[in-house]
């Protein structure tokens, strides 16, 4: 992944025709809906549609919750990825499968499963509620939880893959030179997987930003508390198509800008 950066650029052979055609079809498939959205956008009224208190509130809430969810995914997902990649333990394959579950689960079902675990009658949630009076549904914390649930697999998969692909001899060398395990982790392993960690965190963040189903099912929908941008888009769709499209354009714009700029910067992408 990182070993090719020092290689001098060579003249590229042209792409095979079939590859080129299929790639263009793929690009059109992904790009056409976006172009449709941009063409449908009410550019003239954009400013007034997006500066309504409701829109600004949703935007703020989305940014705050998605960043917190990505942070949660990193703090909890990184150790999990390390454990799966680096330690043999019984049931490791089952754990790896469990990590993938939020990816295949319809997000609304994800929201229901979250209710059964963290709702105020849920497995854990009942104690939170009875002992501390904490009710996660209908709270901003609940939004972060729902977003982290669907986003964390992206981080774990990305980082686990990176951990497996780095040459273990680097770490062994550090160990034989007398470095303590924590120091090896911090000074050798971490820098080696840094690009993947950033990529995984970005993917997790982007997934969290677009999260809808688990959020509305687990956390509900109230402006300023749990109504993130995707929920605001959905609510607006029922009244004003223009407003919904305007909000969608903002959502896309933010994600696209951040993903392009950060990927370019951290992963050495060239545009």
């Amino acid at each position: 992944m990182t070993s090719t950066t020092a290689e001098p650029r060579r003249r590229q052979a042209p792409a095979p025709g079939v590859v080129l055609v299929l790639a263009i079809v793929a690009l059109a498939f992904l790009g056409l809906p976006l172009i449709g959205l941009l063409l449908a956008a009410p550019w003239g009224q954009m400013t007034e549609l997006l500066t309504t208190p409701a829109a600004l509130e949703a935007l703020r809430l989305s940014l705050v919750t998605s960043i917190l969810a990505a942070a949660l995914a990193v703090v909890l997902g990184l150790p999990l990825a390390w454990l799966i990649a680096r330690r043999e333990f019984p049931g490791r394959n089952i754990v790896r499968g469990l990590v993938l579950i939020p990816l295949v689960l319809p997000p609304v079902v994800g929201g229901v499963t979250l209710l059964t675990a963290f709702g105020r009658r849920g497995l854990v949630g009942q104690y939170l509620f009875d002992w501390f009076g904490i009710q996660l549904p209908f709270s901003t914390a609940g939004v972060v939880l729902a977003e982290a649930f669907v986003a964390m697999p992206f981080l774990v998969i990305t980082v686990e893959g990176a951990l497996r692909s780095i040459d273990p001899r680097f770490e062994e060398a550090a160990r034989t030179l007398g470095a303590k395990p924590s120091r090896v982790l911090l000074r050798v392993t971490a820098p080696l997987i840094a690009p993947s960690l950033v990529a995984g965190a970005l993917l997790a963040w982007a997934r969290a930003l677009g999260e809808f189903g688990a959020t509305i099912t687990f956390a509900g929908n109230f402006p300023g508390v749990t109504q993130t941008l995707p929920l605001a888009v959905y609510s607006a769709l029922e009244v004003s198509r223009e407003e919904a499209i305007a909000l969608s354009v903002v959502l896309l714009g933010i994600s696209f800008a951040v993903l392009v700029s950060l990927r370019g910067r951290f992963l050495g992408g060239r545009g």
Binding site: G97, Q135, R164
Partner: protein
């Protein structure tokens, strides 16, 4: 590489999910007409039963339902979704589709009123409408953009209540789901939803003079086949009205 094996597994799981959903909607043969009916979420149980009754009388027709919030359905139909019959939970939602020129001649076919649903055991001791204003009661309602939410807003306004809901749910079934899960102490839903939920919730009825009545219009779309009108007639007829009545709906 291990990751690749996992991804292959994931792809296989996705693919099997796809084929499963395809086979459940098996292709009808040439003599079968498939009617697509978009109906308000509150009609889920009644219309499913009406669909079965209709198909047993008309074996050459299959009825597919698309249940969601009325305004979502109206938006889909206005955007050209291939729907034959539209049954909305409010004249306003129907008007959206009529205004877009996609349906014609709506008729009122049933009516519904509101009720308070509380989780089994009524944990917050909700007894009257006024209890919904209490600070210790977590109340959820439909978003005002869907008919049940508009009706709820009317209900609160007509009774001079200042309720602070914890969530504005996208449709009435979402309200019910959260009450059944005991996340909310009370939810304002249709009378029929309380009946549909059975043992999972308790219903607190709202006196008629304080309640709000919602009329439900039904219409065929302009491109619908002749069978669509037959389905509408069936809903308006004795059998359809009987099933609606059994699920707690009132006459229009």
């Amino acid at each position: 590489m291990r990751v690749r094996a996992d991804l292959a597994l994931l792809a296989a799981a996705l693919a099997s999910g796809l084929t499963a959903s395809c086979s459940s909607t098996e292709a009808p043969d040439d003599t079968t007409t498939v009617l697509t009916v978009s109906a308000a979420a509150s009609l889920t149980d009644a219309f499913t039963e009406i669909g079965d009754a209709y198909t047993s009388e008309h074996p050459d027709t299959r009825v597919r339902f698309n249940f969601a919030g009325s305004s979502t359905l109206a938006e889909q139909i206005s955007a050209g979704a291939p729907v034959d019959v539209f049954a909305a939970a409010s004249p306003a939602a129907m008007q959206t589709a009529v205004g877009a020129g996609t349906v014609r001649d709506p008729m009122l076919f049933t009516a519904n009123s509101l009720a308070i649903a509380v989780p089994a055991g009524n944990p917050a001791d909700v007894a009257t409408l006024a209890d919904l204003t209490r600070d210790d009661v977590t109340v959820i309602v439909c978003a005002t953009t869907v008919p049940c939410g508009a009706a709820t807003e009317d209900l609160f306004r007509a009774n001079g209540l200042d309720v602070a809901p914890a969530s504005l749910e996208p449709d009435v079934r979402a309200v019910l789901t959260k009450v059944v899960a005991d996340e909310a102490d009370a939810g304002v839903v249709y009378r029929t939803d309380v009946i549909a939920a059975g043992q999972d919730v308790e219903g607190i009825s709202i006196p008629d003079d304080a309640n709000v009545v919602n009329d439900y219009p039904i219409a065929v779309t302009v491109d619908a086949p002749a069978e669509a009108q037959a389905f509408v007639d069936f809903v308006l007829g004795d059998k359809g009205q009987e099933i609606l009545g059994a699920w707690g709906f009132a006459s229009p």
